[in-house]
């Protein structure tokens, strides 16, 4: 048997769902830029990060199990 490279379907689907979630992704990237020069260490982008991943999860959720045995 040839060496088949195993690709994780979840990562694959998350990549394909990225275009659907561009808006929260851009919000997150804007936040990253905003806090780049922060010295206090108190600023973080958890909110935008959660919004983005919640969008991706909602997109991936119904489709993932169809790819698995």
């Amino acid at each position: 048997m040839a060496d088949v490279e195993v690709v994780d379907p979840k990562k694959c689907l998350e990549e394909s769902c990225k275009p659907k979630c561009v808006k929260p992704l851009l919000e997150y990237q804007a936040c990253v830029k905003r806090i780049q020069d922060d010295e206090s260490g108190h600023k973080h982008c958890t909110g935008q990060y959660f919004d983005y991943w919640q969008c991706v999860d909602k997109c991936v959720g119904p489709k993932l199990f169809a790819e698995l045995k």
């Binding site: 088949v4 195993v6 690709v7 994780d8 379907p9 979840k10 990562k11 997150y28 936040c31 990253v32 806090i35 780049q36 922060d38 260490g41 600023k43 973080h44 982008c45 958890t46 909110g47 935008q48 990060y49 959660f50 991943w53 919640q54 999860d57 909602k58 991936v60 959720g61 119904p62 993932l64 199990f65 790819e67 698995l68 045995k69």
Partner: protein, 309 residues
């Protein structure tokens, strides 16, 4: 807290300026008019209570939104094959999931409520389960000489525990206790989806968040910093049935196994539920018919008023 005080002041000013803006406000205004001198304090008290209540509500909402990391990212709902009203477990998945548990998780997590005999007929044949049990050493005794001895495992033995007690487990894992997994999908809110999301959700932390040495970032874990490292990596396990062992596949299989472990009665429960709901519906129809039959005598009465002047 400061914001709450400011809001209270704004409310007071608004109430003073708009006397009849809403029914509530007009009630307050009329109250002030009716009860003057001595009793005006009760009107002020009511106003203060309203202000305090609104402040409490508003400050609660602001605090809750700032602590989203504390609750963890909400996990999505996955379409588990055993979700339907008459759906059984995917037993092939349970078998693979047990293999994942044994090879990946059992080094740290106990499942002390499951015995080898519970696996018979669910994931393994009796011979396979016996052979698996025989691979472990169990302390038994005392024997006739009063000594404890070790023997190979039997079907009636529980799955082996990696640590002797919780303290040993904490000591070996930097103070964190790897919980027993026998009931984990019932012991966590939205357990099945949560465990799957957690196991497959290890990601880089967001900008501005740093996790200390020894912990790992997982957005689904309340607080975000979990002691367990990412354990499911592609092809960490080689499945007997040849299914490709991707991270997501292993996650699905191990959660199916854990769901079965927490709710082994699920299939029988669903069958019983379907049967009895059906029978009771028939019984309901019968009871309704019988009630109306018996009451028809009264319901079809004719009452005559015979008034004599």
């Amino acid at each position: 807290m400061v914001g709450g005080g400011v809001i209270q002041q704004i409310l007071r000013r608004k109430l003073h300026s708009q006397s009849a803006a809403t029914p509530v406000l007009s009630w307050f205004a009329s109250k002030k008019v009716h009860e003057d001198a001595a009793a005006s304090s009760s009107g002020v008290r009511a106003l203060a209570l309203l202000g305090a209540g609104v402040t409490g509500l508003l400050s609660f909402s602001t605090v809750a939104s700032a602590d989203e990391a504390e609750h963890g990212l909400a996990c999505p709902d996955y379409p588990w094959p055993h979700d339907g009203i008459l759906s059984s477990y995917d037993h092939a998945s349970i078998r693979r999931g047990h293999q994942v548990y044994q090879q990946v998780c059992a080094s740290c997590h106990s499942m002390s409520l499951i015995s080898y005999r519970d696996l018979v007929g669910v994931a393994y044949t009796e011979e396979e389960a016996k052979a698996m049990a025989a691979e472990i050493e169990v302390v038994d005794g005392p024997n006739d000489e009063g000594e404890m001895f070790t023997r190979p495992g039997k079907l009636s033995d529980r799955l082996p525990q990696p640590y002797a007690n919780e303290s040993a487990a904490r000591f070996a894992n930097g103070g964190a206790y790897p919980p027993d997994l026998s009931l984990i999908t019932k012991a966590r809110h939205n357990g099945q989806n949560y465990v799957f999301a957690l196991l497959t959700g290890y990601r880089d932390p967001p900008a501005g968040i740093s996790i200390r040495e020894g912990l790992h970032y997982n957005p689904y874990f309340p607080g975000g910093a979990i002691a367990m490292p990412k354990m499911l990596n592609d092809e960490a396990v080689e499945y007997e049935d040849g299914v490709p062992a991707t991270e997501a596949q292993m996650g699905k299989d191990v959660v199916s196994f854990l769901s079965w472990a927490a709710e082994p009665e699920m299939e029988e429960r669903k069958l019983m539920g379907f049967k009895w709901i059906f029978l009771l519906s028939l019984a309901l129809l019968q009871a309704a018919y019988y009630r109306r039959l018996k009451w028809s005598v009264l319901k079809s009465r004719k009452l005559v008023l015979d008034v004599v002047n």
